[in-house]
Symmetry: C2
Subunit: 794 residues, 2 copies
């Protein structure tokens, strides 16, 4: 031991032994059904028939995890572990098993020979556990599989957790993804006083599935400049000789922890929250380190061939079993586990204790730490609506008042944030800045900057939906609250992240030890129907379709038609748990329909007949005009006015849908209506003209089992450009004139009156076209149209 070594001989022995134990367990999970400690010579019947899983990333991750354990004990750290590489679930599970956190949650996987056998068997085995870190993995808040989100999750986790360090292993494959590349800059949004620290460990094992990685092949100089350019101070740990690598890694980790402590102590004692240069580690080790060097004369350790199972034991070639046995025995399990199969006592002492174990850290089972929000009474923000349509307002601006006070009330609790890609003001939530600013850790220029603050709780100053989504997920998964405020069209950028979070929630609901977390809430404004400053590219209502395909227990879709309904929906969503709630909202001045009492009732039912707009009281309706979304509601009510003016004897029922999943059968979705209730609203045979916010097919998809087949849906059909608000509706046939035509065409009893009205509507459409191309805005009769109790016309 040289003077400069970080580890004493004894520490070195312990670190290496723990690492060997973890590597042994990682390989064992891949290969073994039985004979877990190799107390008999290895036989074919001890092997799994299908070797499913990955080895390449495991030894490196075990190396990191082991050293983190040492640092946790040495510095008494509150630390969680994020496993970025797609695979390596067997490594993290091995670590959890070694420190006992696994058996505490899954007692059947006990710390003895029988338990180890079950540990091995269950891995990537029917009825067992996935090969990635997953919800099933204690200590995990980041799922392997789809890559790129670990670093954003880590940042979300440490926000408002000043005592927490998130150690985030970034795989060099993952590092090539866009979301991960963006996430290095998350350090521009971290406050060293009020937030914790992220310790990124870029793991250069050199290869992906079958290609080398970019970061492993660029020069040391480029690598170092890249991370310095991203605002990090990297330290390099490179090599393949275990003993010296242990010393280097220990030294690097000691440095990193002391740097974090130095940064935090300085900021917290001085009050200077200026962005520091946070430490990070670049670890370069061979892929499949300590595994078979060669198989069939081809390099395995240190190559892409180590990615999955390095020895193809079932390919029928001679010597496979022997090579596997030799490899497994190279870890000397007999030195590491006692007679009963438990870790030897001296090694048990190596692990952190209790909740300091990363597999048992409560931050990684965030529901344990979840505290309710302090919620203002949303009724106090009610928009006054003396009668339907009497006033106009911006729904999102009304919500802004509520959100401002929600923010205020939870400032002290430090468990609520808002996330969005620079769209808070554009989406009319700017009142929130009265309560808290925008988070920004770099220089702030009082001359030009608006509402920036080193401790702001609105995370809207990074133009990346991926970052917002990843941060919010990390924040929620560690037991806090928030919502994502975005443009409707561009939320599609995170489609796949939402899918993965939905899958995570679905699995967590089946794991009793995973405590409920706050729902993932979306408020999506600047929606498809309101493209003033933008055009066709900003029009995509398909997020509704995307989310609707997810597991019914998890997803809810709300389309409040006015401000009071939006308040009611938001209040419900922000207090819900374990769900993904999507709210589609309106930000432009729009007529208001329901007073608060009516709105609460309407939103509680989720769907209902608007009697004040209907004239079928006491009769079966001739037609049902249904609407969902603010713009479809407006056009439907305008169409009703025209119809009632021209055809006063026609019995029209207006049904408004707030909670879209009401349309699905109750057997498919917990919110779904029974057939009886559905029929009571929609009848079984009156024509339904349904004006829908999104793609019409979604309504058909939700209602195909319903009795009433006379359903005609209008919605967005990918027609749009920069044009007037009303023209957007005309281009997609969802305007009042088309709705009138749709209705009367379905009522053969009308005879000539239908033909007359259809012609009048066609004339109106021609007039509209001429007007907008001349004046660049909608004709006054449309612009100034107001609901007048079904009277009046246009």
């Amino acid at each position: 031991m040289s003077k400069k070594d970080s580890l004493t001989k004894e520490q070195l022995r312990a670190v290496d032994a723990w690492w060997r134990a973890a590597n042994y367990l990682s390989a064992g999970q891949l290969y073994l059904l039985d004979n877990p400690l190799l107390r008999q010579p290895l036989q074919p019947e001890h092997l799994k028939q299908h070797i499913v899983g990955h080895w390449g990333t495991c030894p490196g991750q075990n190396f990191i995890y082991t050293h983190l354990n040492r640092a946790i004990v040495k510095y008494d750290l509150d630390m969680i572990y994020l496993c970025g590489p797609g695979h390596g679930g067997n490594a993290v599970v091995a670590q959890d098993y070694l420190d006992g956190s696994y058996s505490e949650i899954y007692p059947n996987i006990s710390q003895d020979v029988a338990g180890m056998k079950r540990l091995f068997r269950q891995f990537s085995f029917p009825g067992g556990i996935p090969c990635h870190t997953a919800p099933e993995t204690p200590g995990s808040i980041n799922e392997g599989g789809e890559l790129g989100y670990s670093l954003a999750h880590a940042f979300g986790a440490v926000m408002d957790n000043p005592g927490l360090i998130a150690a985030c292993v970034v795989g060099d494959g993952e590092a090539e993804t866009g979301p991960l590349a963006a996430a290095w800059h998350s350090n521009k949004f971290l406050n060293p006083i009020t937030d914790g620290a992220v310790l990124p460990i870029l793991h250069l094992n050199g290869f992906k599935v079958s290609n080398p990685t970019i970061f492993a092949r660029i020069s040391h100089e480029e690598l170092e400049m890249f991370f310095k350019g991203c605002g990090w101070e990297p330290r390099f740990v490179e090599g393949d000789e275990p003993q010296s690598m242990h010393q280097k890694m220990a030294a690097a980790l000691d440095w990193a922890v002391r740097e974090i402590q130095r940064i935090q102590e300085y900021a917290r004692s001085s009050g200077d929250a200026a962005r520091p240069r946070w430490p990070m580690i670049v670890l370069r080790t061979p892929k499949g380190w300590t595994g078979p060097k060669e198989v069939d004369g081809k390099i395995v350790e240190g190559s892409w061939r180590a990615h999955q199972a390095p020895i193809p034991v079932h390919d029928g070639r001679p010597g496979r079993l022997e090579q596997l046995e030799a490899w497994l025995r190279s870890y000397h399990p007999e030195e590491l586990f006692d007679e009963n199969g438990a870790l030897i006592p001296s090694l048990q002492d190596f692990a952190p204790r209790g909740e300091r174990r990363m597999g048992a850290n409560p931050h990684a089972n965030g529901g344990l730490l979840l505290r309710d929000l302090r919620i203002p009474d949303f009724r106090e923000y009610a928009q006054e609506v003396p009668r339907p349509g009497a006033v106009e307002t911006e729904d999102m601006a009304v919500l802004g008042g509520y959100v401002r006070d929600l923010m205020s009330r939870n400032l002290a609790g430090r468990n609520f944030r808002i996330f969005g890609p620079d769209e808070t003001a554009s989406n009319r939530l700017e009142q929130v800045f009265q309560a808290s600013g925008r988070r920004w850790a770099d220089e702030i220029d009082p001359e030009t900057d608006s509402c920036l603050s080193h401790d702001g709780r609105v995370m809207d100053a990074a133009l990346s939906e991926h970052l917002c989504q990843g941060w919010l997920e990390g924040y929620l998964l560690t037991g806090r609250h928030g919502f994502f405020n975005s443009y409707e069209a561009f939320i599609r950028i995170v489609d796949s992240m939402v899918s993965q979070h939905a899958k995570w929630l679905k699995v967590c609901r089946q794991l009793p030890w995973r405590q409920s977390i706050a729902s993932l809430n979306y408020v999506l404004a600047s929606n498809v129907w309101q493209q003033d400053h933008n055009g066709f590219t900003h029009q995509d209502p398909g997020f509704l379709d995307h989310v609707a395909n997810k597991k019914a227990d998890v997803v809810r879709l709300y389309l409040p038609p006015d401000a009071n309904c939006l308040l009611s929906c938001f209040d419900h969503c922000i207090q819900s748990r374990n769900q993904i709630n999507v709210m589609i909202a309106s930000k432009l001045p729009r007529p208001q329909w329901l007073n608060m009492e009516e709105a609460i009732k309407h939103c509680t039912h989720g769907i209902g007949i608007w009697q004040w707009a209907s004239n079928d009281q006491g009769h079966e309706p001739d037609a049902v005009l249904a609407c969902c979304g603010d713009t479809p509601t407006l056009e439907t009510l305008a169409a009703v006015t025209i119809l009632r003016h021209h055809l006063p004897d026609l019995k029209i029922r207006v049904v408004n849908v707030v909670d879209l999943m009401k349309l699905q059968p109750h057997t498919e979705h917990p919110h779904g209506l029974t057939d009886e209730d559905y029929d009571a609203l929609f009848t079984t045979d009156a024509p339904i003209i349904f004006a829908f916010h999104g793609y019409p097919t979604l309504v058909h998809e939700l209602t195909y089992r319903r009795h009433n087949k006379k359903l005609h849906v209008r919605g967005y059909k990918e027609e749009g450009t920069i044009t007037t608000p009303f023209d957007m509706r005309v281009r997609n046939d969802i305007d009042r004139f088309h709705l009138v035509m749709d209705t009367v065409k379905r009522l053969p009893q009308l005879g000539n009156s239908a033909a007359y009205l259809i012609q009048e509507m066609k004339d109106k459409l021609v007039e509209h076209r001429q007007y907008i191309t001349t004046h660049g805005q909608d004709m006054p009769e449309v612009r100034d149209w107001k609901w007048n109790g079904g009277k009046g016309i246009y």
Copy 2:
């Protein structure tokens, strides 16, 4: 003029005059309906009623474009322009108008006073043009709107275009997105001998919508290290004084062009394709440069307030009109345009000529350059299928042979590449490496690396779906061919990019001057039903739903049930134009059903009765068993076998769907069946048990208008984990046993035989569950099951 100046006085005057002209036209498009050259005092009636569009980015982009024009002329460059910032369509349109390329395409927008008036009027006006660069913009291959793809598009454009330079303006907002962050590393995949060059110009105007940008606020040192770390050599041009900025920009561009030429000359003369350090420019100018300095005492130029229209002319405050007029007149249009409203002759000379104008460069209207691929005869790769189900093979491996030869035949043409995130081998296309390697521009290690090559045409060595998609789009848009080979689940990562490309294609189809380009083709394997090495995270068939919502003219969805069908579909797609084709394929050994002749016929029809599997010949069927996708087809045929064994009198029809859009009415999709044809296949009242590859709702969505309402669809219902192949089907009720139960439950005439068979199927499911949890694999009767002409059972 100092000795070191790049521009002579005269050049400086020309550059500045052109820039002023472009800025004037950019502002004019925002504000003016009339009086385009301010020949009368500005009056309210000259203004647009709605000021819609953006100013902030325009002067900076005009500055860049103007200087690029100078460089094009000086060095006779073949250059295209990519406008990364979301907005600024008015700047690019202004440039196109100035150099005449706009009027050539749109003669109505003539280069005179009347044309200028129309130019101004049409911008962001109903019936006019979008406020971003868009398909309507000559010279554009990148749409503003959704941000982040410009740099990947630029790289795609220069691949195999060794004489081309793509000047790519990256906005500092856009630079914060994940896809853009990943794209800086595209330089690791560029060959200086056979590819062209990308010249990124990071435009730091400091602000997004209402926040500052990260790159504008980090230190110069960090900024420089970041780009050097990404492998670029940045040169900085910073300031706000036009005259000195012109000199700096000219010098920087001269340097960059000479660097590109030096790099290319060295590589091309020496044959050394090692990755060079390519030049790039960082341009820091005030947002809204040359616009109003202040409005109402608040800073506008150089702040986020310059983002949209800097002067709110319609807010009723006094002096607005005067301030606008003063600003517009500051560009001195009277010096720039002649009496007729044409650019003065001395300035006309400043522009490049003919196709050297960036608005007229044929690379930006790629269909002009598109050459057909040399296509092998796919019939020669036929899998022999002596009778249905007689052989097993990996469909993707069969395709691999065809793709290898497709690659070989087009090597000389250099107009075909394959794109994918390191999944070529995993998806079984590795035969292609016999024809061409994987592209890699960094060091190659012959000991460990597999198939890497500096000139490889398989772009699969970057683990980023965003990069693959962006590169491929850029490659296609400039008139070449390719396809994206990916895992089915993770293609969702680029959902939003696909939407934007679909929108682009939809608009291009309406522009006669935009020539057809090759289709965007997806081959998606490792699909939802085949998760051996992965689990729940890798299961998402929703890309089909996503694409199905796009404009019918543009999208096609294919689910070939076997290798010969896959060959036939692929051959069709790779030769098609202006479409988005999705092929869902199988990579694991699967029974083969159709010989090549049958496959061609089946794929040509897109849907058909499989007579060899049906026994309803000469009768109306009692039930229709429909299937779509390889796994549903397999299970359906197994179910048919069970049904025919137990209920030999039952008349069963098997319908297989390859072309999913056949299910939609022909009025909705060009491939849709007429009702008559649909009814002939599916009957109007026999129960249909439809086993579908994806989410069942998609089939309902496509068929809701059809007569036969007795449609029961099985598909993926978000149930999955690491388990056996058959168990995945069982978990989602799409296995043979469930399909048998589904069928007989719908046939009340069966009476007791149904009850008996249902019980037997339930017993089988219990047996299955027990077997897999004991053995870790599927029971032999399932594993070894073979189609035997409808005879045999299990």
